[in-house]
Amino acid sequence: MAGLIVRRFFQLILLLIGISFLVFTSMYIAPGDPAAIIAGPTATKSDIDAIREDLGLNDPFLVQYVRYISGVLHGDLGYSYQTKQPVWEAIMTRFPNTLNLAIASIMVAVIIGVVAGIISAIRQNSWLDVSSTVFALAGISIPNFWLGTVLILIFAVNLQILPVGGLDHPFYTVEGMKQLILPAITLGTGSAAMIARMSRSSMLEVIRADFIRTARAKGLKERTVIWVHALRNAMIPVITVIGLNFGFLLGGTIITEQVFAINGVGRLMVQAIAARDFPMVQGSVLLVATLFVLVNLIVDIIYVFIDPRISYD
């Protein structure tokens, strides 16, 4: 296990170098000139040229990349082209929001998803199963924008019990939790849907295994049989999906952040891409990649604890 962690750490460094190069190249290849965007529509050629020179965009590609990556290796993620703010600082003002939102939504998703999935597995083809299926499908087919807006309309505008948006109170305060509810539900439903379907299907596989019969033979309550004996065996694909969704949420989710006016990483990254703000894009991609590797590492470790037959040595 320690070996796994060390190995992952080295892989992470390689991955980060790889992805930064890839992002750098893509930004370079993709059309759009950061200087022209910063200068705005009114800019003249001389305005743009001055900005290009200032940002060092006239240097050869490799020079630019090496300059960037050596900065990163020294712990300097650079400065935003647009706002001149240090990238690290910009990301870190957003990240706590994204993290809060991600945690809240994954909690919503896991609770709803696993419960719905298991109920529909043990009551396969009953009305409960069908309605949970329909719920899950709605969850995945309804665009977040639509759901978020409707939720705002109902709970914030009409009932006035929850705030419309924003995320500026600490998550442990009542205010903060209130602010998290709607976005967490909006984001959570999609993940919940996937988790529900996954739990259902892998539960159905497990529920007919011999050891479930053993558990029943012991006279265990049906609840224990399902929630302890079957669930743990069915968890591998479910944990994978949870990990994936959590990783995805940690990357920020532009639509929900937009709808609920949450100052998160997703919005930052999208704006940075729109503005061709290379250092900012790089910084957020590196963050997302690191987080994702981390989440996956945790998932891989959880695998071992869920299924002792799995080993990585």
Binding site: G32, D33, T93, T149
Partner: protein, 497 residues
């Protein structure tokens, strides 16, 4: 929302407040400011905030669009390349330093310095030098007679910054100006807080606190307006009008504005470089029908220089080729444009997409197949610059509200490849524009602009889709808000009741 509900318990003294309403205001903007230095930014959101913190030497009277001195006391033009500007005395920056000629020189020189890489350095491109004559007099020398000089000085990018502060700190993050509001805090991506400048030279503003909040989604901003989390939004999209109108606590402000939106032809390519084709397209487009789609948030005018812009002349309206499907069809038939395929490059913002969809359908009616290709803004700019299009839609905010500053960047051959995105290049037209720019007599300038405008229309270089309407939706408690036709506004006179 950001403490919107708690707006009622501002313990501070609401001295000028009418009744007991808290003199606080939250404004929602769809995107964050880029920065708070007038020198280093060039976008409308930053400008809106900068306008509350900094001030310019001259301003336009929002009603008459006349240019009047603001930080300046008066000006004279001893010759047509020299501007001697007298400054008001006793004005202080927020950091306590004096506003004086030195500050003006510092600001303008910094803006012009290529090392600064100011995005709008071109604003003062005609300026040769800025000299301090005495503490409160600056002398600006231009390279050539420059007609729109005062208009340029009204522009946000020409707002005066505190030199001391600029040397000490990053104005992008900690702005220091002379304006009615002082900077308190900026949480990037989330909000900016301003407070009243008690020492403001015209007397302290009525609002104690102003919050500029980033709410990227208009529908959410409107919901916030409805719940009272936000009191003021601007740039209302047409689709949201009916919702806003149905809201009892909201006033809608609409005003004819300076922006202009037009369809541009790629003049480097056939058949767009043929007048007949352009005429056909102009005839084929039913602008009225399009403007109707804007539900009152657009003005139909054929003139490139809009009604609110210096240089407009009503007489020019009729010079343009207005909607006439028969003539369009006839031209198409005569010149064999039937079924010709053109690529319509569109930036993916809602209003351009709408223009594209409507025009595409109308052109199809006339027999021209336009294929829409939508693009993200940065890509769009690149593609346009490289001329990878046949037709496109463009807009110009006209924030100086001066016709020369519209025609010169957009259509003068000097700017082909940058702001002249349609590659329009015509010596006769260039000459007219130059004349309008290099003369400081307003009447002469007006005449030249009229001619240039009509020249463009006759040449069917562009098809004007509409002129903008500036809008705002405010909570009924908000009083005294006035919007400039350029879309800018000041909160100085605003109060709540």
């Amino acid at each position: 929302g950001c403490g919107g509900k708690s707006a009622s318990n501002s313990g501070g003294s609401s001295s000028q407040g009418k009744g007991n309403a808290a003199q606080e205001l939250t404004y929602a903007t769809t995107s964050d400011v880029v920065g708070l230095s007038p020198i280093l930014t060039n976008d409308s959101v930053s400008a809106a905030v900068i306008n509350q913190i900094y001030e310019t030497l001259f301003v336009r009277d929002p009603k008459t669009m006349e240019i009047v001195p603001h930080l300046a006391e008066s000006y004279e033009t001893p010759d047509d390349k020299t501007w001697v500007i007298k400054l008001k005395k006793g004005i202080k920056f927020h950091d306590g330093t004096d506003f004086n000629a030195e500050a003006v020189k510092y600001t303008f020189d910094k803006l012009r310095d290529p090392k600064t890489a100011a995005p709008r350095a071109s604003l003062l491109e005609p300026v040769e030098s800025v000299e301090v004559k005495d503490d409160y007099t600056v002398v600006i020398k231009t390279k050539y007679p420059y007609g729109p000089m005062l208009a340029a000085l009204c522009h946000t990018n020409a707002a005066i910054v505190s030199p001391t502060a600029d040397q000490k700190q990053d104005l992008m993050k900690q702005p220091v100006g002379t304006g009615p509001f002082k900077f308190v805090e900026w949480v990037p991506g989330d909000h900016i807080t301003l407070e009243k400048n008690e020492q403001y030279w015209q007397g302290a503003p009525k609002l104690n606190k102003v919050t500029i909040k980033v709410v990227p989604e208009v529908t959410t901003a409107i919901s916030m307006l409805q719940t009272g989390d936000v009191q003021f939004i601007d740039n209302v999209p047409a689709e949201q009008l009916s919702r806003l109108q149905s809201m009892k606590n909201v006033d809608l402000i609409k005003k004819e504005g300076t922006p202009v939106y037009y369809l541009g032809f790629n003049m480097k390519k056939a058949p767009m470089n043929e007048l007949a084709f352009r005429q056909a397209v102009s005839y084929a487009i039913n602008k009225e029908e399009y403007v109707k789609q804007l539900k009152g948030l657009g003005i139909q005018s054929n003139s490139v220089i809009g009604p609110k812009v210096f240089g407009y002349n009503e007489a020019s309206e009729n010079v343009a080729y207005s909607y006439d499907p028969e003539k369009a069809k006839q031209l198409i038939k005569e010149n064999g444009y039937k079924g010709v395929k053109v690529k319509m490059l569109v930036a993916n913002t809602a209003n351009y997409m709408k223009m594209a969809e409507v025009v595409q359908a109308q052109l199809k009616e006339a027999g021209i197949n336009a294929e829409i290709e939508s693009m993200e803004w940065g890509t769009f700019l690149d593609a346009v610059k490289q001329g990878k299009y046949d037709l496109t839609f463009l807009g110009w905010a006209n924030s100086t509200a001066d016709g020369s500053e519209l025609l010169y960047p957009n259509f003068h051959s000097d700017n082909v490849g940058t702001s002249n995105r349609i590659f329009y290049s015509n010596p006769a037209f260039d000459k007219l524009v130059e004349e309008s720019r290099t003369n400081i007599d307003p009447e002469v300038r007006k005449q030249k602009l009229k001619e240039a405008n009509e020249f463009l229309l006759k040449d069917a270089a562009v098809v004007v889709m509409n002129h903008g309407v500036v809008t705002a939706a405010v909570d009924k408690s908000v009083k005294g808000l006035e919007i400039d036709p350029t879309g800018q506004w000041s909160l100085y006179h605003v109060y709540r009741e």
